[in-house]
């Protein structure tokens, strides 16, 4: 009986917890895509453009965890060659913006009871180029 209950919990956990993990991953990816596109659209070769890009990312209103929680700890980086990424670039001529949402932790309810982790981190990242604005990654 107890073995059966453990198996049932594992199956329920797969459906409930992993289902939420997949949704959170998808929501985070859509958020970073929107944020990266918005940031790239503000890049104009000036330091004010960099600042406007950061402000734009902060204004993206999307949430995760079934649309209920705000994204926190979002990282915005800039690059002019796609290799060297900086949060505060000295050269304002960046043409690409990279947005990372690193800390979306989905709480695990059922899989935890059968030895799974208490939380599952679902990071997402997107890169967009400016002129024309397009997603690169």
């Amino acid at each position: 009986m107890s073995v059966t209950m453990l198996l049932l919990l594992a199956v329920l956990g797969m459906a409930f917890d992993l289902g939420r993990v997949y949704i959170a991953r998808n929501e985070a990816q859509v958020f970073t895509d929107a944020a990266a596109m918005g940031a790239a659209s503000k890049l104009d070769g000036t330091t004010q453009g960099i600042e406007r890009a950061r402000t734009m990312v902060a204004r993206v209103p999307m949430k995760w965890n079934l649309g209920t929680e705000k994204f926190t700890g979002v990282i915005v980086e800039f690059s002019s060659d796609g290799k060297k990424w900086e949060r505060d670039p000295k050269d304002a001529g960046a043409t690409m913006a990279r947005v990372t949402a690193p800390s979306n932790q989905v709480e695990i309810f059922f899989l935890r009871a059968v030895g799974g982790p208490a939380t599952f981190t679902v990071p997402a990242r997107a890169v967009a180029g400016s002129n024309p604005v397009r997603l690169i990654q």
Partner: protein
């Protein structure tokens, strides 16, 4: 005989628990699966809507744009709609809301794409997603107030 009776009682109790577990598993699993598909669909529509040229020579042009975005959400193709299979079973373009938020100049600043109302029949229970999932993208496309949709 008494032992057999105990076994029957145990089976009856545990079967009730197991069936409700399995029903719950199926319901949540299916609802999450559908929700995930809808997030993907509105995400695709949002990306397209954000980059699409906003032509606003007339209200008809704006409506054409809205239709194209709805088709993108449902069929993954802005021109599609005739017999194509929807990305999410039973999703139709009229269940998708598309709204632009405009700045002082009249140019769109944001575009929101969401599911207005989508009923999910998870066999054991029916429920409806209202106003979600939804996405809001910064508008990064060209603003062409005097252009007409082709």
């Amino acid at each position: 005989m008494r032992r057999r009776g105990h076994a029957m009682l145990e089976l009856a109790i545990s079967a009730g628990v197991m069936v409700s577990f399995l029903a719950g598993t199926f319901q949540f699993g299916y609802a999450f699966y559908v929700y995930d598909q809808l997030v993907t669909a509105v995400g695709n529509g949002g990306r397209y809507a954000a980059m699409r040229t906003y032509r606003a020579a007339s209200a008809e042009d704006v409506e054409k744009a809205r239709t194209a975005i709805r088709n993108m959400v449902v069929y993954g193709d802005p021109r599609s709609g005739n017999g194509a299979a929807p990305a999410v079973a039973h999703l139709t373009p009229d269940q998708v809301d598309v709204e632009w938020t405009k700045g002082e100049s009249g140019a769109p600043e944001w575009v929101a794409v969401s599911i207005r109302e989508f009923p999910v029949d998870a066999v054991f229970a029916k429920f409806t997603f209202r106003g979600r999932p939804g996405v809001e993208f910064p508008f990064v496309g060209k603003y062409a107030p005097s252009e007409k949709e082709p």
